[in-house]
Amino acid sequence: MIRLQGISQVFRSRDGARVAALDDVDLSVASEQFACIVGPSGCGKSTLLRLVAGLIAPTRGTIEVGGRRVDGPREDVGIVFQKPTLFPWASVLENVLMPLKLMGRPTASHRQRAMDLLEMVGLGGFETRLPGELSGGMQQRAAICRALIHDPPILLMDEPFGALDALTREEMTLELLSIWQERRKTIVFVTHSITEAVLLADKVVVMSARPGRIVSDLDVALPRPRSFAQEGLPEFQAVAASVRASIFSRRKGGADAR
């Protein structure tokens, strides 16, 4: 479904120096697969998502989505950012409908869909509220609805629960799993949390920083539906340990190389 081949991304920093954000990255995510990308800050995880979304073009390499080469922004992805980034002037419902308005599609038939999505994430009855009146978790739920409104086959999530408190974060993780159970999507999910990654993903991709490289690509074969109860199981711990090991070993290796 999503295939990145030999992707390198070089940015020019403010002082003109060249900064390699990604270096020779190969990655493929199958259709309806849930992939989590874990890695330290500055490993180019967010860059990877933006490349898949077609928001930026790679310095080298090719990206294919659904067998077609990505050469610009595409409407078949939904994006959820770390911050909810809802528009403070628009009601929750208007915010959810915003992508369709930006695309210039008629919204009459989509109103019901937006209401259904809000109902699904427990925001029924909050349609007319302004985002400022909602808690951070509720805002992020609305942002997820916004990403789903045009029913994209691909969902790109850039540390979507990173700004939430620990309890809300667990709640949202489960919520996302149930959404994914209901409406199968290909999800690429960036996170700092190993537990979150193992709990959510079919496969966990570990990246290293400066330059961003893929260190390991682990399949998570834990049974679904998943819950936090599994966290104590040895299978879960084994996967989490191997993810942790590959992050840690890579860091040590990097320090030695220097």
């Binding site: 922004p73 994006i79 528009f87 992508p99 695309m103 400022g132």
Partner: protein
Amino acid sequence: MRADGVDDDDDLPDRRATLARLARASVPWISIGVLLIAWELCVRGFRIPDYLLPAPSEVWSQTWALKAAVAGHTLATLKTIAFGFGLAVAISLPLAVLVTSSPAVAATVYPVLVLVQSVPKVALAPVLVVALGANEMPRIVVTFLVCFFPLVISVAAGLLSVPSEYIELCRSCRASRWRELVRVRMPCAVPFLFSGLKVAITLSVVGAVVGEFVAADEGLGYLIQSSTAFFKTPLAFGAIVILALIGIVLFQAVVAIERAFFPWSVSDERFRD
């Protein structure tokens, strides 16, 4: 009896809060009142002549005696402010959109804007009278010139202050530049627009008076000049007080419009998370 007692307990914090609010609201009035009384007493006690510093009572009685004329002057000044400020809003908003549309346009237009802004408007006023004639036009143009620059700058800053995620959302939806402007950039600029409007509305009063100083046969600026020429200082003070009131009322009107139509734009804790 018991129920009454419970009710009292419930009311008490409310009543106390209301009293506290009243007390807080009355403090500015009390301090202004004390200042006026002290002023009045000083002028009477030290027998300061009227033409140097008139007592508040004298300001009031002389201004009130000419209330029809003063009202006419006030109306003339308000008209100048309305046209000048309106013109500034009408021109600065499209100009801000133009300036922010591309770096090339910005590089072309900004120097001209800065040049115009660098010219002292008071120096420009007599020239404008020569060019535009001895009517209300030079006054309106001076008012316009004084208040349009802060508007352009603040709205342009607002249009460029859009968080990058909003722009990415627009791009991922392949929104046209027009949709991006109307649906995202313009609403983002609203808080900036209002901070610009608050500066501009205050400056517009200054602009109108400057225009009236240079060439006018009516308006509060003209009234100040003509009455001081004849040492009718109390009347000049009356005009100054009215100008201050106009400034306060117009500023509060802008604040009220923002609160009423763009409550999310007001930095009020109720609308922040």
